[in-house]
Symmetry: C2
Subunit: 148 residues, 2 copies
DNA sequence: GTGATTTATCGGTATATACCGGCTTTATGA
DNA sequence: TCATAAAGCCGGTATATACCGATAAATCAC
């Protein structure tokens, strides 16, 4: 007679875990007025800039229209800037100085949340978790040993 | 020289995985006009009804105001009904007949998505994933063997 | 080279999510 | 009992998320 504590739906479990982690990281980053979705977006831009919205969306596996809207918030805060290049359809996004500064100051706050989370998993647990999340990713081909 | 394919941020990885799984399950459930968040909410209500919003929110680890708003969509669709009981502050939620019917018809669609997802993990992978997500859950006490 | 197609982005719409403050109702305590 | 505290919910606000259709620009096909 187990009281059925948490849902057996893999998706629901992932969503629940993502919500919880989001709140932890958001709380850690709150002093800088940035949340983890924004932090993640800033980091991706930092690594990929200059990059257009479509490529950035693919990189983050985010819907392009979602990315566009999320980006407006960063733009509004003066953290990013988008410019039209030779291809006048595309907008190339990059960090502003302010954006870089926010990222630098956010890094230790992110680190604290990451360390606290990692401690709950243990080093092996984190590796295992990443492997499992990779296995879930349908954009990754399944390894030969599993496929079929 | 590894090209840094996916973020090392545990939170970002969880969010990405949750987004992807959500899209898979949503696509599977789409023929019934229900998404996985709604399906999950309906299932929780089915198991817990009659239940008030606060308890249901705690059960799902959802913010109570979020739950209240999500519930309005179900109400609007005629799938749930909320009634005030003796305690006039609390609203007790339960499925309607229509809601039960939607759940019954959605079950095989959910099952298909769940099976496809589970197949990517393997039986052991799913067990391992659930254990890791439990370990992340700060509302669960850490087992003696891990704590400190 | 011009018409068809594809690509990049945007806007409308709907939903999910959370924080905060306020209101109503219940419980508590002196 | 009556003042105070606590509980339960709602509304405002902000953001994240995705689908669809529209628009503009580049590319392709002939």
């Amino acid at each position: 007679m187990k009281p059925e504590t948490s849902p057996a739906c893999i998706c629901a479990r992932l969503r629940r875990a993502a919500r919880a982690a989001t709140q932890d990281y958001d709380a850690a980053l709150a002093p800088l007025g940035v949340n983890v979705a924004q932090y993640s977006l800033l980091r991706h831009i930092q690594r990929a800039a200059p990059v257009n919205l479509t490529d950035l969306a693919a990189l983050m596996q985010l819907d392009a229209s979602t990315l566009g809207r999320n980006l407006r918030v960063l733009d509004k805060n003066g953290w990013t800037r988008a410019a039209t290049g030779r291809d006048r359809r595309a907008r190339h996004v990059a960090l502003t100085d302010t954006g870089r500064d926010v990222l630098n100051r956010a890094a230790p706050l992110w680190r604290a949340a990451q360390d606290a989370t990692a401690a709950r998993l243990g080093a092996e647990g984190q590796t295992a978790l990443f492997a499992l999340l990779d296995a879930l990713d349908t954009s990754n081909p399944q390894p030969e040993s599993i496929r079929r």
